[in-house]
């Protein structure tokens, strides 16, 4: 099965650690020149470790066996100095998190020069010239000016472009891209994917793309390798895999991808929920929020004049890209950030002008679910104590009745009762998010604010949690602000949706209406940028957007 034209050939790669930890069992794959190969899998599938093994970048304590050949030569187990000659020069790598992948105290130009110098002497002038070229190549405007900038002066998209420039600096034959767009907003993600494709087309560099996002795969990959817990599940061209998945796991992955309504799906407006009989669960009346201290003259607006209603029992999706103010709006509803203008009414009561005691009382009807499952539970408290805490705060019932309520809630979020005695760190991310939801619901709140509750989860887990959320919402009938950057997620859970941009409301309305026939150009662009989970025919590149 060995083909001589293979650029990279991985055979029976196995990676193990001294202590139990997700590892690689048996992975074989190959890339030919000029090809984009997608390595797909959920967390723990071993996709990142495989890529790191190619460059000898495994964490300390990892042992790899099998074979990795680059242009027919074995690279696994090469000494550090020989690997250093390979790295960057012939095989380069791009990492997931552009925020941390660049040295924060060095300029962009310095970092590019440093990478160039790693593979031979180069004069300062030549290095500068090459740096400008590279920044042009990754489509960063004003490259002459940008090379003097520090990473923190660049946007997330620009940073990822710089990381790409670093990888391309020494014209490698193979580019390993480890989730290069996961941390980016959808519109930026679309631009970076387009850029990757153009680079491949222009330079013939092969790309090994590691991702969990089937949409991204469909968008760019020629072939796909599906991994699951360290083993290859399925290999094939993108068309084959998407069209006729052979393995049940591949099918499951594809099924759990949420989709948006196709353009024009919306024809008849769904009858709007009956006009509210009672006061809205939450009302924003042209609210303003500022960050920073106005006293020091460095306040900047985070939310500007947003007015929104959430009816009782209604789920309002709040979407927007980073910096749009969606999280701030959610925190405002919870009373966690100070109000700079306008008013917030919870069940008709003005939240910010009520007394602290009254606000604590209002808290009984309010719940907050945070994005990060790592941090949303107190690591020092048992799961049961965490769920019980709101009952303890408001001294609801007897200890026995509180325990009973905890058991009830655990059942509602479909977790075994004995979980109550465990500590958060013993649980998976999905389980922790369920517990966070159970805690949020323990007092039977009227309003829940859910800030990206599923964004840190794997797709299949996300699908389960969203399904559970839907059921719980049915069962408990609370109103909810559901914040997400993922339009498909909002599509699957929300009744209505509000689109935010730079702290302002762009448009709002029933989900089917906004997503089906968006009226605002920004909403349209947002929707267009979402990669569809089906392979496309090769087509001419989309107009390149300016880097954000």
């Amino acid at each position: 099965m060995t083909e001589t034209s293979d650029l990279l050939q991985v055979d029976h790669l196995a990676i193990s650690f001294a202590h139990p930890r997700p590892a690689v069992n048996d992975i074989s794959l190959s890339i030919v020149e000029g090809e984009v190969l997608a390595l797909v899998g959920e967390s723990g599938s071993g996709k990142s470790m495989t890529a790191r093994a190619v460059l000898g970048l495994l964490p300390p304590g990892a042992r790899a066996s099998g074979s990795i050949r680059f242009r027919g030569e074995e690279v696994l187990g090469l000494p550090e100095d020989q690997l250093a000659r390979l790295r960057g020069r012939r095989i380069a790598m791009v990492f997931q998190e552009p925020q941390t992948a660049l040295n924060p105290v060095r300029t962009v130009g310095w970092q590019i020069r440093e990478v160039l110098r790693a593979h031979g002497r180069i004069s300062a002038a030549a290095a500068r010239k090459r740096a400008v070229e590279l920044l042009e190549e990754v489509e960063i405007p004003e490259p002459e000016r940008r090379i003097g900038h520090y990473p923190h002066q660049l946007s997330g998209g620009q940073k990822q472009r710089v990381v790409l420039a670093l990888a391309l600096a020494n014209e490698p034959e193979l580019l390993l891209a480890d989730e290069p767009t996961t941390a980016l907003d959808v519109t930026v993600q679309a631009e970076i994917l387009a850029l990757l494709r153009r680079i491949r087309d222009r330079t013939g560099t092969s790309i090994l793309l590691i991702t969990h996002n089937m949409g991204v795969v469909a968008e760019i990959a020629d072939r796909v390798v599906v991994l699951r817990q360290g083993d290859v599940v399925e290999t094939g061209t993108t068309r084959e895999v998407f069209g006729a998945p052979q393995h049940a796991y591949t099918r499951q992955l594809l099924d759990s991808v949420l989709s948006l309504p196709a353009a024009g799906d919306f024809v008849h407006p769904v009858p709007a929920p009956e006009p509210p009989q009672e006061a809205p669960a939450l009302r924003f009346d042209s609210v303003f929020v500022e960050y920073g201290s106005s006293r020091r003259g460095r306040a900047f607006p985070a939310v500007q004049g947003v007015s929104l209603d959430v009816a009782p029992g209604e789920v309002l999706g709040l979407v927007g890209e980073s910096g749009s103010g969606k999280t701030t709006l959610g925190r405002l509803a919870a009373g966690l950030v100070p109000l700079a203008g306008g008013s917030v009414h919870v069940h008709g009561e003005d939240l910010f002008s009520s007394s602290p005691a009254r606000r604590r009382e209002l808290g009984r009807d309010l719940a907050f679910v945070h994005q990060d499952p790592e941090a949303s539970l107190d690591p020092r408290m048992s799961v049961g104590a965490s769920i019980r805490e709101p009952l303890d705060i408001h001294r609801v019932g007897t200890p026995a009745s509180r325990r009973a309520r905890v058991a009830e809630l655990l059942e509602a979020v479909r977790l075994p009762a004995d979980v109550a005695r465990r500590r958060p760190r013993e649980l998976s991310g999905g389980q922790r998010q369920r517990i966070a939801m159970a805690r949020a619901l323990v007092l039977g709140p009227q309003l829940m604010i859910a800030d990206e509750p599923t964004s840190a989860l794997d797709v299949s887990v996300q699908a389960d949690v969203l399904a559970l959320f839907g059921e719980l919402q049915q069962q408990f009938g609370f109103a909810c602000i559901f914040i997400s950057h993922d339009l498909a997620v909002v599509n699957s859970v929300a009744d209505r949706v509000a689109v935010l941009r730079n702290g302002e409301l762009v448009e709002s309305g029933p989900v089917a209406q906004v997503f089906g026939s968006p009226s605002h150009p920004y909403t349209q662009r947002l929707l267009a940028a979402v990669p569809a989970a089906e392979p496309k025919e090769p087509k001419e590149p989309r107009p390149a957007h300016l880097a954000s």
């Binding site: 790598m93 992948a101 040295n103 105290v105 440093e114 790693a118 520090y150």
Partner: protein, 319 residues
Amino acid sequence: MLSYLLRRVPSALGVLFVASFLIFLMLRLIPGDPVDALAGQDATDESRQAIREELGLDEPFWSQYLSWIGGLFRLDLGQSYRIGGSVRELLANGALNTVVLAVTALLIAVTLALVTSLVAVIRDSRWLNAMLAGLNTLGLALPTFASGLLLVLLFAVVFPLLPSGGTPPDGYLARPDITVQYLLLPAICLALPVWAGLTRFLTESLRSQMRQPYVTTARAAGVSRRRLVIRHALPNALPSTVTVLGIQVGTLLGGAVLVEQIFTWPGLGSLIESAISGRDYPVVQVLLLLSVAVFVITQLLTDVLQAWLDPRIRIGGAR
């Protein structure tokens, strides 16, 4: 950058003012009247009163305090009760010796800490790490006076290579080679705990920087380990190390009290001891305030240095 500095100045001044008041108040509460020590057994009430007036001790507390503070601004630190000369001149000599000692110790500590932690992280060999960790812990665990006496015993008495104490006889500049020999033992003694603390912190923070994604990025681009440590990780580890260094500098003056005693180094440490025991208020209060000022200024400098080393603070977040 400048505004960053300016924002810190008021709180530093506040600390100094509060400290000056506390010092002044505390010294007045200490039992023992300086006039007793000066007047003698055959003193009459009149002569005691004359001394009292001469020293300004007959004035009310507040006016004494204000005239002291006022004098400080004119660099008039007052007159020593016991020695008789102006406090400023008295301090100048001691301060020079202490500064020379402390700065040398600091240079030794910082240089050695940089070298040892860089070598440790670059080589990353098991036995080297174990050896350095052992030395390090010993440096932290050995009390200053014990290490000082050991140094004297070893290098001055058993093997008489270096002087056992004192300052160079002809001043610091006349014979630099002699000066080095006089400075070596006390400076090493004072530097030892600073070196140990600094090395431990810097090594840890270099190691944690080496685990950062940006290092992986550079490594994946083929940058050698030595360059990764020195050119990439070090500049990132420095800002926080500077803070630790700032705290260490603050403790140097306290350590100097011991080292100066062991090596009969006539600096501020020995001056403050004799001044406190002699109830020489004008000297004591200036010395105490000086030690607070050193601390406050060091903190200010560390803040500035840290900001300067970190472009995120230096240049600010504006895109």
